[in-house]
């Protein structure tokens, strides 16, 4: 499931349960999950990243690139 689909479903479910205040913190969790999925330690079943040198990896797949994209708090969920 993509994070975008998950977020839409999660917000809809929270609102159905009367938990409207959950929307902003679910959005924060989504941002944190995006960062987690972009980290370079995740598995790559295609093996395509293994054959690349660090400098050739796409944005979000090297520690330095991921670090540059992070806000200063390093934890995107505000909770």
């Amino acid at each position: 499931m993509t994070i975008e689909t998950w977020l839409v479903d999660a917000i809809a479910d929270a609102e159905k349960r009367g938990l409207h205040e959950l929307k902003p913190i679910l959005e924060g969790l989504a941002a944190s999950t995006r960062a987690l999925r972009a980290a370079d330690f995740n598995d790559d079943p295609s093996g395509s990243l293994e054959s690349m040198a660090d400098g050739q990896r796409p944005a979000g797949k090297s520690p330095s690139a991921a670090s540059m994209q992070q806000p200063p708090d390093g934890n995107r969920a505000r909770w």
């Binding site: 959950l22 969790l29 999950t33 960062a35 330690f41």
Partner: protein
């Protein structure tokens, strides 16, 4: 205010009794607790009985060791037989612990006197102690400010002289953060080192039990008692000269209050002057710490609270309930990603420690925040307080390395600042030796707010 070490000397020199010091603590609780709300429950009669027993035993030649007769407070997340363990939540109304947590049983064997149970952030799920069914605990240095959390009542009880030491729990910093906010010492031991049975969990994969105390030596004495090693002697400090210390600058020093930064750099300078070698290092995946920690702690907390979130959601404080409800939406695949990230971070901290005796960093990026504030300004930008408070401590819950917080001095307005030392996994005693050396070299005094047992 008296340390455990000093109390022990006076007790054995017949200059003071356990009963006298326990009475002093109880008087102080009576005077200060209405202002600080550190204790949820005070067990005065039982404490005095335990103190008299300790005095009788010592007169009869039975010395249980360094904690004999020492009045202590206990975070109300640990089971004490016959008492409720509230976790500062209405969810646990009616609970009575059928038996002692193993750590409490160890403290009894060590002869400690249990004064009562201390306030905390509900279910230990927060860093400020504001969300408690019993109202917020307050910082003895400035009661308009948080004592940190989640073991905030424990920190406040020691810094105000209500107890000589306390036992807290630490899932993302909940021992070290209140220690830093209150200007005392807090030790998170290695993951799995101290038993956690009889402790209400926040995250069974990140929870630690450990001491808060006035000094590193006192923390070491309580730590050994928690392990069941009642006769352990305090570790001897290693010489500062020749210590190899590593400072992770990127990420860890990026977001610091100016005065916290100044006290941290001054402490490093004193360590350098003492002959320590200080190297800058990098934890390469530092920016992934927050997301990894979040997905681990949320998954564990959601699993534990699922049934009561369904059956009695109104009994949680609103902020804690919302965080737990959010936790139920974490996907399994992301939890597994966080587990993979945990291994990466563990290896990176191991690597940093392969060439160094300890990693050194501040404990809290800010001085104790005002109660009720949601943001704090750092470098002219508002930052969410909860994220900021966890920023420098949560890594070592994820990786399991032992970490200790100790004071480095005060801000211009008298708020404590602290330094954190991190040692190799399962080598807490070695970390304590390094911390003893650094404590002597840094020379920050513990809080002074009256005298106990003098």
């Amino acid at each position: 205010m008296v340390t455990i070490e000093e109390f022990g000397r006076r007790l054995r020199a017949h200059e003071v009794t356990a009963e006298r010091v326990t009475e002093d603590c109880l008087r102080r609780i009576e005077a200060e607790n209405p202002r600080l709300n550190a204790f949820i429950r005070v067990t005065a009669d039982a404490a005095l009985r335990q103190a008299r027993d300790a005095d009788r035993e010592l007169s009869a030649g039975q010395d249980r060791g360094p904690l004999h007769g020492v009045p202590m407070s206990i975070k109300d997340l640990l089971d004490i037989r016959g008492l409720p363990t509230t976790a500062a939540s209405r969810v646990r109304e009616g609970h009575v612990a059928p038996r002692d947590a193993t750590t409490i049983a160890h403290l009894r064997q060590a002869g400690a006197v249990l004064l009562g149970k201390t306030n905390l952030h509900e279910f230990a799920f927060g860093t400020t102690n504001e969300d408690s069914a019993f109202g917020p605990a307050r910082n003895p240095c400035d009661p308009t400010r948080s004592p940190g959390g989640s073991s905030g009542g424990s920190g406040a009880s020691i810094a105000s002289g209500m107890a000589l030491a306390s036992v807290g729990t630490d899932t993302g910093g909940s021992i070290r953060i209140p220690a830093a906010a209150c200007g005392i010492v807090g030790l998170k031991p290695s993951l799995g080192e101290v038993p956690t049975d009889g402790v209400v969990p926040l995250s069974r994969t990140l929870d630690h039990v450990g001491p808060l105390a006035l000094t590193v030596t006192d923390a070491a004495l309580v730590h050994h008692a928690l392990l069941g090693q009642v006769k352990a002697v305090p570790p001897a400090p290693t010489p500062v000269s020749g210590l190899r210390l590593a400072v992770p600058r990127a990420y860890f020093c990026d977001l610091l209050d100016d005065e916290v930064r100044a006290r941290f750099e001054a402490a490093l300078e004193r360590l350098r002057q003492g002959g320590a070698r200080i190297d800058d290092i990098e934890i390469h995946h530092a920016c992934d710490i927050g997301p990894i920690y979040l997905h681990l702690v949320l998954s564990d907390a959601a699993a534990y609270h699922a049934a009561t979130l369904e059956s009695m959601p109104e009994k949680y404080t609103a902020p804690v309930r919302l965080r737990l409800e959010m936790a139920r939406y974490v996907m399994g695949e992301d939890y597994v990603r966080a587990l993979a990230g945990r291994e990466v971070l563990r290896r990176e901290v191991d690597t940093a420690l392969a060439q160094h005796d300890a990693v050194v960093l501040p404990t809290l990026p800010i001085p104790a925040p005002l109660i009720g504030a949601s943001d704090v300004e750092i470098g002219g930008r508002p930052q969410p307080i909860r994220n900021v408070m966890l920023r420098l401590t949560q890594l070592f819950n994820v990786t399991g390395h032992p970490a200790i917080s100790m004071p480095t001095g005060r801000t211009a307005t008298g708020l404590p600042c602290s330094i954190q030392l991190v040692g190799p996994r399962m080598q807490t005693d070695a970390l304590l030796q390094v911390a003893l050396a650094c404590e002597g070299q840094i020379g920050a005094a513990p809080p002074a707010s009256g005298s106990v047992g003098v």
